[in-house]
């Protein structure tokens, strides 16, 4: 009758079908339960970590890089925040991305493509404050767009001391490979040259990080934890901005270098190389233009990145005669008042070779003072002959030649001082050392190579009586809280006290060389300047012009070396540059109206050369 009591086939079939359905249901619920328990109990830890990663975002905050201050404590390099815009996509639907893109296009003058996919990317750097504020104001409609802050290195005086300061840039792959162990990250900024590179670990500081809880749109919900970045330490430099500026101005238009050092401590007051460059170029993340690259890196642009003060090596020419003179006196091969005849040439060796004085007709009878004043070659040929190669080399070494000065800059060249053994072993020469080589060396020619910095240090040692200081650029390291971390102490590399009488002779002779000799274009009234010109012959072209000086003679406070590559004679080219630098160092000294009051002979000498 009724469906329920009908035990016919259909009802039975229904019952059995219900059993299969019930089985299916039970299996379904069992499977769901197993899956749920597997996810929550079996893999719960994994998912809990994932949810933690989801919600917690670590934002690294770069540490402000330490500043550079000059010796008066005035900032010359600082770091200024650079606002940049980046896209950290958490938007998962493409419609929303299109909306963000459209909105962004309206806000920024230059279109930025936020791209597709989950890829995060930098959209633009150097955002102006106005742009940043506009974007921040529209943040709710720009999910995923964030504004970051990166301190940008600013060289406040542009080209000033560019070679000393160096520049910074994004760490390269190879640099990262070397320095990753020191805690450098792949996106860190690294000092690439100069002090920026040498003191990078002190300057960089420790980056901070904040842990923030974010929602699915990347919006900050709350701070969880924060570690403030620790600013890098500031460096107080020994540089005197006035002198540095004067040196650079005086060198302008030349290829050359000038180094000014305090002979009592080795502190560098100025270190200039010409031409210079503006390190700010590298702070901007914009790629360099091809013209700029041409100017910065090619020979045609005189290689402005090259620091001629420490990396260029030239023959010293006549400025080496100071070493020859002092060595002759110390070794006792000459007496200060001993006269040597200069007929305009000397014959050396067997078979004899003629070495000429620059003054073809000869200087006549020359004592030490006259020889230094007139830069008589024959006199020093004779002294060199008497000293011999070994003693001459030892003297050069005592004044720091042939070795790095250990200045706190990277890539310093160490110059070269030859000796007989070297000459014999040299694969391209393989010759015996002739007396002529010694003679050549005694006037700073031949195989001698020096850097302008070495000559400044040598001059300082002459000025202070034989102490070779390690030249330094940093007088103090001040940490971000203002505490002095590393006060500067003068460091002596070599000390070879000299007979004060000998020193006196040489100082006076060098003073006379400026007052009425080859270096007269470096004269200043009211300041006793001692100096020596040098004109280094070289196979590449015009002579290199040298001038070294220290002042005041009675109590030297400044020693300097000037070198102008292929500039001509030292007296005509380098000495006036030195005068301008000295004027800046001693503002109380006065320029002489004109060299017309000078003895005609001295003027004439200089016109020809030395």
């Amino acid at each position: 009758m009724s469906w329920k009591e009908d035990k016919s086939g259909l009802r039975g079939l229904f019952e059995s079908r219900l059993i299969s359905l019930r089985t299916l249901f039970l299996l379904g619920f069992a499977a769901l339960s197993v899956r749920l328990l597997y996810m929550q109990l079996g893999r719960g830890y994994h998912y809990a970590l994932a949810s933690q990663e989801n919600r917690v975002q670590t934002l690294f905050e770069p540490a402000p890089r330490g500043f550079f201050l000059d010796r008066k404590g005035e900032a010359i390099v600082n770091s200024q925040p650079d606002l940049f815009l980046f896209f950290a996509p958490e938007a998962h639907d493409s419609l929303e991305r299109e909306r963000v893109q459209a909105h962004l296009d309206r806000l920024l003058p230059a279109p930025r493509d936020i791209g597709a996919g989950f890829k995060a990317g930098l959209l633009t750097r150097n955002l102006s404050r106005a742009e940043a504020i506009r974007i921040l104001e529209s943040r709710p409609s720009l999910p995923g767009l964030r504004i970051g802050l990166n301190p940008r290195r600013r060289y406040l005086w542009g080209k000033l001391a560019s070679h000393v300061l160096g520049y910074v840039g994004r760490i390269s792959r190879s640099e990262y490979g070397v320095r990753s162990l020191e805690g450098y990250g792949l996106k860190d900024t690294l000092g690439k040259s100069g002090l920026e590179s040498f003191y990078d670990s002190i300057l960089r500081g420790t980056p901070g990080a904040s842990l923030i809880e974010v929602d699915a749109r990347g919006r900050q919900v709350r701070f969880l934890d924060e570690k403030r970045p620790e600013s890098g330490s500031h460096l107080v430099l020994t540089l005197d901005r006035t002198i540095q500026e004067a040196a650079e101005r005086a060198l302008a238009g030349t290829r050359g270098a000038a180094v000014v050092v305090d002979p009592n401590s080795g502190a560098i007051l100025a270190l200039a190389s010409s031409p210079g460059y503006d390190p700010n170029l590298f702070s901007s993340s914009l790629p360099l233009s091809p013209e700029m690259k041409e100017r910065l890196f090619s020979e045609k642009g005189s290689r402005p990145l090259w620091d001629r003060a420490i990396q260029a090596q030239y023959a010293p020419g006549s400025i080496f005669k100071i070493i020859t003179a002092l060595s002759g006196l110390e070794e006792g091969v000459i007496k200060p008042d001993e006269k040597i005849h200069c007929p305009g040439f000397i014959e050396v060796g067997n078979p004899p070779r003629t070495f000429r004085c620059w003054q073809r007709q000869g200087h006549g009878e020359m004592d030490l003072s006259g020889a230094l004043i007139n830069s008589c070659d024959v006199y020093f040929y004779e002294v060199g002959k008497r000293l011999g190669a070994t003693k001459l080399k030892a003297a050069a070494i005592r004044f720091g030649l042939g070795a790095p000065t250990e200045i706190d800059l990277t890539s310093e060249e160490k110059g070269f001082v030859p000796d007989p053994q070297w000459k014999k072993d040299h694969p391209n020469i393989q010759e015996a050392w002739y007396e002529g080589d010694t003679v050549n060396m005694s006037v700073g020619q031949g195989y001698l190579w020096v850097t302008p910095l070495q000559m400044a240090c040598m001059t300082a040692a002459v000025a202070n009586g034989g102490t070779l200081f390690r030249p330094t650029l940093v007088s103090e390291v001040v940490d971000s809280r203002g505490a002095t971390r590393r006060p500067f102490a003068p460091e002596v590399l070599q000390r070879h006290p000299m007979d004060p009488e000998h020193l006196q002779w040489v100082h006076l002779a060098l003073e006379a060389a400026v007052a009425r000799g080859t270096g007269h274009l470096a004269r200043l009234s009211g300041l006793r300047v001692a100096g020596k010109t040098g004109t280094a012959q070289n196979p590449q072209g015009k002579d290199h012009a040298w001038f070294v000086a220290f002042a005041p003679v009675e109590k030297p406070r400044v020693a300097l070396a000037v070198c102008v590559e292929h500039g001509g004679t030292g007296g005509a080219v380098a000495a006036p540059i030195a005068r301008k630098i000295l004027k800046a160092a001693f503002p109380e000294a006065e320029e002489l109206p004109s060299p017309s009051r000078l003895p005609a002979s001295a003027t004439a000498t200089v016109e020809i050369g030395d």
Partner: protein
């Protein structure tokens, strides 16, 4: 009716387990909705609407208890036709949300006719299998059932609302299976349905993948030709008495052929009429990885939410995945991850248990039903609930494709809540009147 009468009729016969499970889920759903929406300013509006719908659904269920359910048997086809008309009207006057016309709106309320249609389909199929003609001609009745299902399903698909349409064939399969139709026919029908539905989907997928090297038309032609040859050969062999093939083996072949034709036609019709984003939707429905920023991301976040709940959960209102907005659609399709994250395995298993009680009690009610109509309706409801739970939970746990099927009694959505409560009302009615008298 005296109280004793009422007690005798209702309280003593009530299916308390089913009722407890449904009431528990519904109330829990309101609480969890608070948590899921707590980030939004409109939480009270949403929860208020949900509570209103819950009250409406409970009232409807109570109303459905007051009369013998058999009263619905005769007008079932008419109810079905009304819902068809509503679905049809929807295509012209429906309110468009997210590109689909799925809603009638009046005032602040909206109504989703697809939810009504699934209930009337259950009633109508129950009516169909309880007809005497069903026992005489089960096969043609089964074909009629397919047609009855295809109509509302097709109309829902045209909105286009894929997720709402999926429940229809599942209800059909369940009822047909229980009605005793032979497994052979059932499988044949299922395959045919899959082919006719699968072809347009496959075409949409291939199109959006940009695989132009696959010439869909040519593939379809080759299949048709192949099938035609088999069919013609079999027919020929049979008519020449070379082969003693029963006629019923040929029928599915012919039907299959027809399904191919229909499917191919639909594919081209869809291709010509659907807008690109609608095609993309179809394609993403077949392969969610086509839309990694939508479905792929959602599933990852959903799984993280569920897994990170661990044993006891992060506490109500304290789920980081849910409260920080990592879970998409967390008040509708992805409500379960919120529960599992905040209440842990304890909450998740309790929810599963409640659903198991509902589904198994519905099957039991179907078994106890006093007539075929009641048995069919209860079974349809059981299959409907089971389908929702498995596809939704399977989706949130990353084992089934993303279909956008809501979770009964928990997901936000008034029409669904009312319809589900109506189903519960019917189930309780059938249960209470399980005795012949």
């Amino acid at each position: 009716m005296t109280f004793a009468d009422f007690k005798e009729r209702y309280l003593h016969r009530m299916d308390w387990a089913l009722l407890a499970a449904v009431v528990g889920l519904s109330l829990f759903g309101v609480v969890i909705l608070f948590s899921a929406l707590s980030r939004q300013g409109t939480v009270h509006l949403f929860v208020g609407k949900q509570i209103f719908a819950l009250a409406l659904g409970m009232a409807l269920a109570a109303l459905l208890l007051t009369f013998r359910y058999q009263i619905l048997q005769a007008p079932a086809p008419w109810l079905y036709i009304i819902s068809l008309i509503l679905l049809l009207a929807l295509l012209f006057v429906g309110h468009r949300i997210h590109g689909a016309r799925s809603w009638f709106t009046f005032g602040g309320f909206s109504f989703q006719p697809a939810e009504l249609a699934k209930m009337t389909l259950i009633l109508c199929l129950g009516w169909l299998i309880s007809r005497p003609s069903f026992q005489e001609k089960p096969l043609s009745s089964a074909l009629l059932a397919c047609g009855l299902t295809a109509l509302p399903m097709g109309l829902v698909l045209l909105q286009p609302d894929l997720s709402s349409s999926l429940v229809f064939p599942f209800i059909l399969l369940g009822i047909l299976w229980a009605s005793g139709i032979s497994a052979f026919w059932l499988i044949s029908l299922a395959v045919i349905g899959l082919v006719s539905m699968g072809l347009p989907l496959a075409q949409a997928l291939l199109k959006s993948l940009g695989k132009t090297e696959i010439d869909f038309l040519r593939v379809a032609m080759i299949i048709l030709l192949f099938e035609g040859l088999i069919f013609a050969g079999a027919w020929l062999a049979r008519s020449l008495r070379l082969l003693r093939t029963p006629a019923k083996a040929l029928l599915p072949c012919g039907l299959f052929l027809g399904a191919l034709v229909v499917g191919t036609f639909t594919a081209f019709a869809l291709d010509a009429t659907l807008k690109p984003y609608q095609k993309m939707r179809l394609a993403a429905f077949v392969d969610p990885s086509l839309d990694p920023f939508g479905a792929g991301y959602n599933i990852i976040q959903s799984k993280i939410a569920i897994g990170s709940g661990r044993i006891f959960g992060k506490g109500l209102f304290s789920g980081t995945q849910s409260q920080l907005g990592f879970i998409p659609e967390q008040h509708t399709d992805f409500i379960f991850p919120v529960i599992a994250e905040e209440m842990g395995a304890v909450g998740g298993i309790l929810v599963l248990l409640a659903y198991a009680v509902i589904c198994l009690r519905a099957l039991a009610i179907s078994q106890e039903a006093t007539d075929r109509f009641g048995a069919g309706v209860a079974l349809g409801a059981a299959c409907m609930f089971f389908f929702y739970v498995v596809t939704n939970l399977g989706m949130t746990m990353g084992v089934l494709p993303v279909t956008g099927v809501p979770l009964p009694f928990l997901s936000y959505g008034g029409s669904a809540l009312v319809a589900n409560w109506a189903a519960v009302g019917l189930l309780l009615n059938i249960h209470i009147r399980r005795f012949a008298n």
